[in-house]
Amino acid sequence: MAALESPASAREGLSGRLGGAGGRGGPASHPSLRQFEHDMLVFRRRWHSYLLSGFSQPFLYLLSMGVGLGYYVNKNGSLPGGVPYLDYIAPALLVTQAMMAASFESAWPILGKIMWEKTYQAALNTPVGTTNLLAGDLMWIAFRAILLSVLFFVVILLFGAVSSPLAVLAIPVAVLTAMAFAAPIVAFTATQKSDQPFNMLFRFGITPLFLFSGTFFPIQNLPLAIQPLAWVTPLYHGVALARSFSLGQIDPAADAVHLAVLCAFAVAGVIAARITFRRRLEV
């Protein structure tokens, strides 16, 4: 409190410690990292529950679908190249789990920070700006996607469901796919006045994608008219890319397209979110 006794000394004390915002010199920490730190502080309080669900979910999915359902699929030997069903869906589930978690984090928690708890409002009274908040929270969503994907990959290894050392690249693919969903959804969230539309988004957007993006069966099995729909969704590309690494079936041209689509969604989402965050929070 010493500096409170004299405004002048408060000023000097602060300017020395202030970060890059406002053009003053300061410590290494970038303003965007501070929102990420905040999220990590919250994470620190419940890392064990994240860890528990991060392990149990893939275990349950791989056991029931990969092993259980896979038994009947494999008997027919109908997958291209005779790939075991477990190996076929493992990378796809890895990607979809990261995508689902990131989508969720981009909806309710972000809207809460905007309009329920209004913690963004509190943060904006500090030198931090709206773009810093957006960047920090996207970092947190990416962190959570990384954590989930690594845990999922460990479980996949435990099931022995990889055919190539390249399989480890499914992790960055899953994170990129997660961000290809997170960024546009965050942009959408910043335009909403209630959480009602999220129910629609998940019921008619995220869940159908989870089911029909080549996750559980090749999209060639979809009616011809619907197939092009799958091509424009980022999940299809994420699943296809992760699978090509996991099975060691690289197709450079196709994989480059998959990567480009994922990057395009992520980048467009970030640009849109910057705009919608400003419109919502700088009024």
């Binding site: 004390g13 300017s15 202030l18 970060g19 003053r24 920490s29 309080r45 509190a122 009274n125 009024v283």
Partner: protein, 346 residues
């Protein structure tokens, strides 16, 4: 003194400051200066433009038109630099329910770029200052309204600000909590912190503010110290007279008879209104020349006069027989009601 302030020496300097949301004008060309170390208040009914003004000063809301400088800096370009020197107590608590009381403060210090150790040191000190030390490990959610407010004030002090912006700091608090907050704000003022607050509590404005402006419908309608405003807009004393209204008894009887259909009721109300108007005119005629100004409230009559006792005596001599008589000093509330009108603003 405020007249001598320039944009460079003012803590806040506003000329023609305007905020529009689409076609709606929230703040309409206001002028004011706040001196460093001063306690300055924005008084006004809901929707008068107080919060919009505060948000522009806090550089979280862009200025639509006019001039605004804070510490001589331009909010449009120096927002982060200004915010680093200001503490904000927003109307809503905006605390993080996912974090503990202490963590709420520490992470807020981090937003200001403080090191973890420095932020923790200040957080512990500030919890002591607002008497929340024993709750430091608790979650925020179960705290009482007064405790949350104190925590928000502590949070606003983590960057050792030169100026505090407080938007209705004590709304919804019980009297004890309000007095504790006022005491803390007074101490900060003693330390040289500039206070800038909005309120619709007159006692709060009189307690805390050296100078204030009254805002109404997006404009500043008066400016001065609490005492100056009272001298300028109202008399020294107020005589409050209550009368027993005869028609009150009648209305009651009608209701009991159950004969008041909707149509009758509307008619009765119209009759009552007409009667009230006539009654008012009659009272004003009887008090003619005794008062500077008369205000009719639903339940009583306010007679503005320099000497309440003398006016009361004169009124009795003229044959007025109020049910109760109260003489009091004029307050900021009288100024407020005079300037912003008696109709309820929602």
């Amino acid at each position: 003194m405020p007249d001598a302030l320039t944009p460079q020496t003012s803590a806040i300097h506003a000329r023609g400051l305007t905020k529009r949301f689409g076609k709606f004008t929230a703040v309409d060309g206001v002028d004011f200066d706040v001196a460093p170390g001063e306690a300055f208040g924005f008084l006004g009914p809901n929707g008068a433009g107080k919060t919009s003004t505060m948000r522009m000063i806090g550089t979280v809301s862009p200025v639509t038109a006019g001039k605004l400088t804070v510490f001589g800096l331009d909010p449009a370009h120096d927002g982060p630099a200004i915010r680093s020197r200001v503490g904000v107590v927003p109307q809503a608590d905006t605390l993080d329910n996912e974090l503990s009381v202490l963590e709420n403060l520490i992470i807020y210090g981090r937003y200001f770029g403080l090191s973890w150790s420095e932020s923790r040191r200040r957080a512990v000190e500030l919890l002591d200052f607002v008497q929340l030390t024993e709750r430091s490990g608790d979650q925020v959610e179960p705290l009482s309204g007064g405790m949350k407010r104190r925590l928000v004030i502590a949070r606003a002090l983590i960057n050792e600000p030169e100026m505090l912006l407080l938007d209705e700091p004590t709304t919804g608090l019980d009297p004890q909590a309000r007095h504790l907050l006022w005491d803390r704000l007074y101490r900060l003022k003693q330390r040289g912190v500039t206070l800038c607050l909005t309120t619709h509590y007159m006692d709060e404005a009189e307690q805390l503010c050296d100078r204030l402006v009254v805002m109404d419908k997006a404009k500043i309608v008066a400016e001065g110290s609490p005492r100056q405003l009272i001298e300028r807009y109202v008399t020294r004393e107020v005589l409050e007279l209550r009368f027993n209204r005869e028609d009150d008894a009648e209305d009651g009887a009608n209701a009991r008879d159950g004969r008041s259909s909707a149509g009758d009721l509307a008619g009765d109300l119209a009759d009552a209104d007409a009667a009230a108007v006539a009654e008012r005119a009659e009272l004003e005629r009887q008090l003619e020349g005794l008062a500077e100004r008369i205000e009719h409230l639903p339940d009583r009559l306010l007679v503005y006069t320099a000497d309440g006792d003398a006016t009361a005596a004169a009124a009795f001599e003229r044959g007025l027989h109020p049910a109760s008589v109260l003489v009091r000093r004029a307050s900021l509330e009288d100024v407020f009601l005079r300037l912003t009108g008696r109709s309820l603003v929602e």
